[in-house]
Symmetry: C2
Subunit: 220 residues, 2 copies
């Protein structure tokens, strides 16, 4: 339990309370969908292992899609549903993954009994706001190479925080997903990575990325 997102900052009593409301876990295969736009929001999710992306479609029927978030092990998922009781995005597994399911009605009761849990939930939602704000800032102000560098550094930091190597990782998503997430085309992503490699900043072999020069990436 202690690896996961929710219990951080909770006493062991509180964790026990939480443990009781987590009914079960679910495994989903690569490419499968955990929930879709419009699904009723009655469950909180937390990524246990693997990774997922959240995706939305543009309102007008142009068929364009945008990757809104990349969720690694330990991340919460589906918090946007509080607003109107329905999910506002699709969640798709990027690899075979497993997620914790927490029925919201149980969780809400536990929140009233345990103020630490209530605070934790507010913090998670607030963190989501900050994360989205960062993404908005990236899409609003940065050039393509700055966006790619920011994504690599963000992934590196998140993996490090989870105890994995921070300088080498295997991307679970395609160039298309990266581009969609960053608001650029997959060709631009590919060209940018090639340029980074030519400069000696990274070593990229398809989905396997090794960061060679952190300061160089940060300086872009």
């Amino acid at each position: 339990m202690r690896h996961y997102c929710l219990p951080q900052g909770l006493s062991s009593d509180d964790v026990n309370t939480l443990q009781k409301v987590i009914v079960n876990a679910r495994t989903i295969k690569r490419g499968e969908t955990l929930f879709r736009v419009g699904d009723t929001f009655d469950t909180l999710y937390a990524v246990r292992s693997g990774s997922l992306k959240t995706v939305v479609s543009t309102p007008n029927g142009s068929g364009r899609e945008q990757v809104m978030g990349l969720h690694l092990g330990g991340d919460a998922l589906g918090l946007e549903g509080f607003d109107n009781g329905r999910h506002a995005c699709h969640a798709v597994a990027l690899e075979d993954s497993s997620v914790c399911l927490i029925p919201y009605v149980h969780f809400e009761r536990a929140c009233r009994e345990t103020s630490a849990l209530q605070r934790r939930l507010l913090q998670l939602l607030s963190r989501e706001v900050v994360r989205k704000s960062t993404q908005t800032l990236i899409l609003g102000t940065l050039r393509a190479d700055e966006r790619v560098a920011a994504l690599l550094l963000d992934l590196s930091a998140r993996l490090k925080h989870r105890g994995y190597a921070s300088n080498e990782f295997n991307l679970r998503f395609t160039r298309d997903d990266m581009g969609s997430f960053l608001g650029i085309t997959l060709e631009t992503v590919s060209r940018t990575l090639s340029r980074f490699q030519a400069k000696g900043l990274i070593d990229a072999n398809g989905k396997l990325i090794q960061i060679l020069d952190f300061d160089g990436l940060r300086a872009i």
Copy 2:
């Protein structure tokens, strides 16, 4: 009270509870700052009258800034602070405005006593996540003219929801602010508005905008 953001969906008893924790209001003049990046988060804000923008600076010292949000009367403000207890953006008044101040410690206590209030807070935070997601989608997928149209329609809908005219409004922010919010330059904003006017979609005289053809704007 009932015009404001927080009480929606609350019983009159609950509203009374809430009323007690709102210590006071504060007026701020155009251009003044309500809070800054790094300020300790100990107060929730709600716009009572007027309007404010929230602004962040890019992490690297390039001096670039981005408008993150435009907050009209009734909107909540400063919710991003839950994450780490410090504000992640500046809040600047776009005109002479007044805001409600709600000390967070009082509010948190009221939340535990009143589950409707707790749910309302979660909903507000979640709405903020959805709003940021929409903004990310706009910056990630839309062309300049689509972005400007989306902003005009969004403002129109929000003003209508507040009981104002939906087809005519006086922008309180500059072309520069609009451009920053939409991730384009102020020149592109100006050119786009001129083009809309030439097409008969709007009538724009500086900050005074009149929407003539809603369907036309939506179809862009």
